[in-house]
C-alpha cells in the first residue's frame, strides 16, 4: 500500500531544529500550563513556529492516543521530537516534558506536607478541591453528552460506572473483562455496517445498469 500520509513527506519547515531547541520549547510549553498543555502545544508547534502542519499533528495525536499508559501528550511529544530531530529529538522532547515540572511538583508537594494543615492554607485547598470536583462533573457531563442515544453504548457506560465508581472494584480486573467485550461488539457492528454499505452500493450499481 503506498504511503500517502502527510508524515511521510518532508518536514513542514526548512528550519534546522536542534534537540536543545526542542528541550527548551517543551519546558516552556509545560510550564505555561495555564490553559492546558495541549493548547500551548498546538499553538507553538503549528501556529507560532510552523514546525508541523495541522494534519500531521492530528495524525500523530491519533497514534499517540492509541498507546496505553495514560500519558497521551507525552507520547505525542516523543513522536514530534523524533520527527524533528530523530532519537535525540525524542529524548529532548521527553526530558523537556518532565524535567523542570518534576522539580516544581516535588517542591509544591513538600510545601504541602509542611503547610497543608495550617488553617488558612487548608481552607484554600478545600476551596480549590471543591472547584476541581466541579470541573470533573462538567467534564463527565460534556463527555456523556457525546454518547450516542442508543441502548448499548449507555449500557457499557453504566456497567463501567457501576463497577468502578459505585462498587469500587479493581480497575485492572474490570478492564480485562470489559474492554475485549466492548471492542469485539464494536468490531461486529462495524463489520455489519460495511457489509450493509457494500450491499447497498452494489444494489445502486445494479439499478444504474
Amino acid at each position: 500500500m503506498p504511503d500517502t500520509s502527510p508524515a511521510s513527506g518532508p518536514p513542514a519547515t526548512k528550519e534546522i531544529i536542534t534537540p536543545w531547541m526542542i528541550y527548551l520549547l517543551y519546558t516552556k510549553i509545560t510550564l505555561l500550563g495555564f490553559g492546558g498543555t495541549m493548547f500551548w502545544l498546538r499553538r507553538s508547534m503549528i501556529e507560532d513556529r510552523k514546525w508541523v502542519t495541522e494534519a500531521e499533528f492530528v495524525e500523530m495525536f491519533t497514534v499517540a492516543q492509541l498507546v496505553p499508559g495514560g500519558a497521551n501528550l507525552y507520547n505525542l511529544s516523543l513522536m514530534l521530537g523524533h520527527r524533528f530531530a530523530g532519537v535525540r529529538g525524542a529524548v529532548a522532547a521527553g526530558l523537556g516534558f518532565i524535567s523542570v515540572p518534576f522539580f516544581v511538583m516535588v517542591t509544591v508537594a513538600l510545601l504541602y506536607l509542611e503547610y497543608g494543615e495550617q488553617p488558612l492554607v487548608n481552607k484554600a485547598l478545600t476551596g480549590m478541591f471543591t472547584v476541581v470536583v466541579g470541573l470533573m462533573i462538567a467534564n463527565a457531563y460534556s463527555m456523556a453528552k457525546a454518547v450516542p442515544r442508543r441502548l448499548r453504548p449507555w449500557l457499557f457506560t453504566l456497567l463501567t460506572f457501576t463497577a468502578i465508581g459505585a462498587a469500587r472494584w479493581p480497575l485492572v480486573s474490570v478492564m480485562l473483562l470489559l474492554a475485549p467485550f466492548a471492542v469485539s461488539v464494536a468490531w461486529r457492528d462495524i463489520a455489519g455496517e460495511r457489509v450493509a454499505a457494500a450491499k447497498a452500493a452494489s444494489a445502486t450499481a445494479g439499478e444504474a445498469k
Binding site: G33, L78, I137, A138, T157, L158
Partner: protein, 176 residues
C-alpha cells in the same frame, strides 16, 4: 509508608492501572484513589483530593500529578518511582510505535477500539467525578459549590484555572 517493598508494589500496581486505564490519566484516578485511600489508608480521601487539586493548579502537565502524589507519599523516592510508573510504559510503547513506523494503525481495529471503548471511558470519567464528589458528601456547601462550578464551566468560556484560584480565595474567606 516507606518500606522498599511498598514502593515496589506501588510501582507495579500503578503501572498496571495506568496501562489499562483507557482514556488517559483521569480514567485511572478512581482506582489510584482506591489504592491510596481505601486499601492502604496512606492518605485520607480529603488529602487525596487536595493533592489532586493542587497538582492541577501547579504549572506542569496534568499527568505530573503522579509526581506530586509520589512526593507526598514518600518524598523524593516516591516522586521518582511514580514518575517512572507514569512515563516508562509510554516511552517504551511509543518508541516501538515510532520504530514500526505506525502511521496508519489497522483502520478497522483502531475504529473498533475507539468506538467500543468510548462509552467505557465515559463511564470512567463519571466514576472519577463521583468518587471525588463523595469525598464532599456530608458538606452540602461544598457539593453546591461543585455543581455551581460545573454549571459555570459548561455555560461560559472561562479558563478553569481562574476558577481554581477563585476557589482558593473563596475557601480562605470561608465562603466554601
Amino acid at each position: 509508608m516507606s518500606q522498599q517493598d511498598d514502593m515496589l508494589t506501588m510501582f507495579w500496581q500503578f503501572t498496571l492501572i495506568l496501562l489499562l486505564a483507557v482514556g488517559g490519566l483521569t480514567s485511572a484516578i478512581p482506582d489510584i484513589q482506591r489504592h491510596v485511600v481505601e486499601q492502604n489508608a496512606w492518605l485520607t480521601a480529603r488529602q487525596f483530593g487536595e493533592v489532586y487539586a493542587l497538582s492541577q493548579a501547579t504549572p506542569g502537565p496534568n499527568v505530573m500529578v503522579m509526581t506530586m502524589l509520589g512526593a507526598v507519599l514518600n518524598g523524593w523516592t516516591g516522586a521518582i518511582v511514580l514518575t517512572i510508573a507514569m512515563f516508562l510504559p509510554g516511552t517504551i510503547l511509543t518508541a516501538l510505535m515510532i520504530h514500526m513506523n505506525a502511521r496508519n494503525p489497522d483502520a478497522m481495529l483502531a475504529l473498533a477500539v475507539r468506538r467500543g471503548l468510548a462509552p467505557v471511558v465515559i463511564g470512567l470519567m463519571i466514576s472519577t467525578a463521583w468518587v471525588m464528589l463523595s469525598t464532599l458528601s456530608n458538606d452540602w456547601r461544598g457539593v453546591t459549590m461543585s455543581f455551581a462550578t460545573a454549571l459555570l464551566v459548561l455555560r461560559t468560556r472561562l479558563n478553569p484555572l481562574w476558577l481554581v484560584g477563585l476557589g482558593a480565595v473563596a475557601g480562605m474567606l470561608e465562603v466554601i
